[in-house]
Amino acid sequence: MFKKILVANRSEIAVRIIQACRELGIKTVAVYSEADAQALHVRLADEHLCIGPADAALSYRNIPNILSAAEITGAEAVHPGYGFLAENAHFAEVCQSVGIKFIGPTSENIAMMGDKAKAREIITKQGIPVLPGSQGVISEEKEALEAAKRIGYPVIIKATAGGGGRGMRVVTQEEDFLSAFQTAQAEAKTAFGDSGVYLEKYFLEPRHIEVQILADEKGRTVYLGERDCSIQRRHQKLIEESPSAAVGDALRREIGLVAVAVGRSVNYCNVGTVEFLLDKDQRFYFMEMNTRIQVEHPVTEMVTGIDLIKEQIKIAAGLPLDFRQNDIKVRGHSFECRINAECPDTFTPSPGTISNFRPPGGPGVRVDSAVMCDSVVPPYYDSLIAKLIVHAENRDGAVARMRRALDEFVIEGIKTTIPLHKRIFDDPVFQKGRISTGYLEKFLSSEQARVSG
């Protein structure tokens, strides 16, 4: 087992990793940028080292400084957390070449799954359904029409330079395709300066369902249930839950085994998440694979009782998994709310000093955070300041618990998304579990209409 691990990250995930190391009796080294000198992860670690200025490129993504910090402190392993260098295949490779263990999958795993086109190719070869789409941008009308036929209507035409739901057009039948295609190209050119468009199969009210897998270095791979991450705004997740209200035992087992097969097909090691789109008819399609620990990992921990960060460390230390698939049970229901330092109505960032911080407690409540009273939330990094996680015996119980916990949670001095989370958990549609990836945009615009109407 490692004696010392360097945590190459910041904020709540750095604290989380330090927690796991502490419980395993492993010494920790925190690295920080000049903007994070007073941060909690720096205070909690056994040692700390400044690795650069506020700019993440010069600090949290500064490979030479991070590896040098590991060298001079004698750290045997590095945990990259999520974001920053977590899915940087080059970093994983350099760690290996200098004899420092990268706590995560291999650089080959990362490179392979990071190449979306290549990943889809591998998955298709396994006979696993992949999200149907064009292989990149199509500019020729004839080619586009053929691709749309192949994908199957309805299709959505998306601007490659677009985002935020702009430059998209849904086509339900073939006869409408060409004019929609031409209009979409023209719109894209005007809005984004790039007329490039691509095609994807369009789903009505799909759900984002992801499966957590764990694999040790001997290749023993298990799945730990699924997470429903459909509550998203502009592809940013806001609320996650496990299990999904749309997934029954049979489907859980089916996509779980598919996720394991995906992992095995690339000799995957350590933690990973396989993302699927689930349509209204319970058909699922592979979207992509995330080769890192994810922000929303706590909901899986709550329902399975398995500490994913500790498992990451144990796997990296060469230990075999000490449980089998049959030992893994999903019990109860868990939600996670991402509390961001943002204005809950406009979503503009709200950095600043926290004047009051009182997290909720009581049964089934967990808060993963790196802030406290007098903490300064810097403007340089992402706005996530806390994750509020609840667990209860079933989904209704978990909804009630989250509503109670959100009411108790006090954060003053900056704006946060807590009011928005409260409104969502008060919504009968959400409470009934009738969610899809379109839910939040619809919810926000109907609120907007109510306010202005």
């Binding site: 000049e34 205070r43 400044c50 400084n65 590896l67 040098s68 402190t73």
Partner: protein, 155 residues
């Protein structure tokens, strides 16, 4: 020495006529100097506080120098990379500079070794080395103060 005692000392200095105070108690040495701006005392070494689980000021590893007030005009060259500080290009060579050495802008003052790569650290100013704050073969973090230089022309 705990935070309460340090706070009391600071108040003493701020209220009274004392300009500078150095105190050693149970393995902790504290120097507080009153200048144009109030200085923040940093213990050079500190036993891990038993009671509190979150130390307000954890000791910097490898004995990095505390930020004491610097005489007006002196400039501080800080480490631009993380690594091991060496005063000479090779173990049997002479050090690049000594205290009192005149230096020019761009002149190499030391190397910081990071992952087997030797980073030559250059002086940003023309002047004279007045303090060397790090020992040979000492690990340094980003921003660690290395040299104090008295510049040639007043800044």
């Amino acid at each position: 020495m705990n935070i309460k005692e340090l706070k009391e000392l600071i108040e003493l200095i701020q209220k009274g006529q004392i300009a500078e105070l150095e105190l050693e108690k149970s393995g902790v040495r504290v120097r507080i100097k009153r200048d144009r701006t109030p200085a923040v005392p940093v213990p050079l070494t500190e036993e891990a506080p038993a009671a509190s689980t979150i130390p307000v000021e954890a000791p910097l590893p490898h004995g990095a120098s505390p930020p004491s007030t610097v005489p007006a005009g002196w400039l501080t060259l800080t480490a631009p990379v993380v690594g091991t500080f060496y005063r000479a290009p090779a173990p049997d060579s002479d050090p690049y500079v000594e205290i009192g050495s005149p230096v020019k802008k761009g002149q190499i003052l030391c190397v910081i070794e990071a992952m087997k790569l030797m980073n030559e650290i250059e002086s940003e100013w023309e002047g004279k080395i007045v303090e060397i704050l790090v020992e040979n073969a000492q690990p340094v973090e980003y921003g660690a103060p290395l040299f104090r230089i008295e510049p040639l022309a007043p800044t």
